[in-house]
Amino acid sequence: MIGPRISPGPGSHSSPRRAAGALAAFVAVALPLLSLAAPAKAQVVEDRFPGVSLELISEGTRALPFAIQPFAAPPGREDLAQRAENIAARNLRYSNRFQVLDSLPSSITRGSEVDYALWDQVGAAFLLTGRIEVSGNRVELVTEVHDVIYRERRGQGRFALPGVDTPEFRMAVHAASDAAVEWATGEPGMAASRIVFSRLGEGGNRELWVVDSDGENLRRLTNHGNLALTPAWSPDGRRIAFTSFVSGLPRIYELDLATNRERQVPAPRSGDYITPAYAPDGQTLAFAITGSSGRSGLYTYNIGRECCFTTLIESRNEDLSPTFSPDGRRIAFMSNRLGVGAPQIYLMPAGGGQAEILSPYRFDRRGYYSSPDWSPRGDRVAYYGRIDRIGWHQILISEVGRGNRILQLTPNQSGNNEDPSWAPDGRHLVFTNGSGRGGATSLRIVDAVTGNTRTLVSGMDVKYPDWSPSLARLVTAVDDR
């Protein structure tokens, strides 16, 4: 009798939302029964605000059972295989797409052939295999994903493994995990990615820090001894643009992660240069200039060619925090044009022009919305805010073009939830969570489909997280066959 450990699938974590009964309950079922992740059910929690509901993105997906065959290794390299398997298992769990069956006894495998009948009996829909191959100095991880039901291989990859204690080792396994997600579902993963954020340190200063998507490899990036704020990844994952006060006045800088060199966006006129974001071309930065003799607005600068300031929008209001749609045709941003103390989220053409409101504005409510981030899938904009003048901030999603339906992702009792940023898979979001008094104290990750939430880092004052694009191509050579 086989006795595999069943790891929790999506929905089996307890969460305040589930306690509130906003989600259809998931049932953890013992083998061989499969738990079915029911599609999230919409529930309007704020009848006073028609159109805004505490609910999740409705994908109608099942959490398919994904078994991991114990990774194989040549004699003496078993620890390598074990480490890689553990990292991959956690990644698959964090993807919130599967019920992961791992930590199986190695005796379950017989020979090199995949025993589909066995895995069918275990209840797996997919199977991940992995083996370490060593030739000379070169160590590689070879992975395969098999469809147990159709009894066929869905994909195979070969990933160069650097030294086992380096961040690159983990990143290589993350890349392998994302490949497994893609082979199984046809959708991108997000394990091979990092989150940059602004962390409070000595003397009230803030530096940029970065952490892997699984919470490992936390490290400091800048050493400005001042305020480094609102970081944004370049689309190729090689650079980070941010605001720093290191010169005495807020200016925009770009940090090259490979060389650790920084360059500054020139400041041809007075004002505070804040909230940069990259266009999909990776060369154009959009940002806000505020406080320049009443002329505030959104501007772009081509940092690749080091030229060409353009004005997107300029007025006596403040327009800031731009974010590009993935096709580069539109920008979402926040603006206080409807009144001081009630910033709203707007969309407009990327070259400037007529702006339309996206956030759920009600004339007498003084709703407050901030920090938009356009989903890499293109059809959603996340931001945060509150519908009333008082109350905690919650993470919201507007579904662009589908009647701009608005979903509230975080439950009302969970404190202040701010600064959402999309993962490269287009379904997870990182955000800050705090009590609302003093700075936020943790970064959390929520899956917009299942509502599962986990803590990424905690016990520090954190702000402005930005999730990188997929870094799989940067850190390891993937050899699809």
């Binding site: 009230g204 406080g291 103390g341």
Partner: protein, 196 residues
Amino acid sequence: MHFPRLFMVAAVISAVSVSACRRDAPEPPAPPPPPPAQAGPDMDSLRAYQDSVARAQEAARAEAERQRRVEAARATLTAMVNFDYDDSSIRSDMEPILRQKVEILRASPNVRLRLEGHTDERGSGEYNLALGSRRAQSVLNFFRDSGISENRFETTSYGEERPLVNRSDEAAWAQNRRVEFAIIAGNDQINPPGQD
């Protein structure tokens, strides 16, 4: 014979007046050298000497008073201005201090200021950067509308990032919502209003 005692007094006063004198202050008249010790009492030179001592004392007093007024003017110039929650308009109770600043700026044409806007910790960090900018801009507008050239100011915002009081209550928030004034030029050329 009173000369030795007078000599000592004069030396002390002279030392005091020199030490009270700043680099940029006019030199007080130097007291004349004491009369030769072997000469007999000469009422004219004694009177002249006493007059010069009085003048030195008066100059020292005036200089000390001027310094006191300059320091007061500097304190007025850099006194913070506070704001209401999520508001960048100048509060009526803040107008008197701003008008005093205007008088000093008028009398001190070489002084330049950086206006630094701050907010409390509530609300969006990005929005608060903009709110701080707007507060600095409100102060700049007040100065400009009072006839002071806006070229004498630069503005910036620290948003919620540099709280004055690191607590989370109404009293702390009220102090943290502010514009600070940093003297970036002419710090040694501050003239109290009504002088010169």
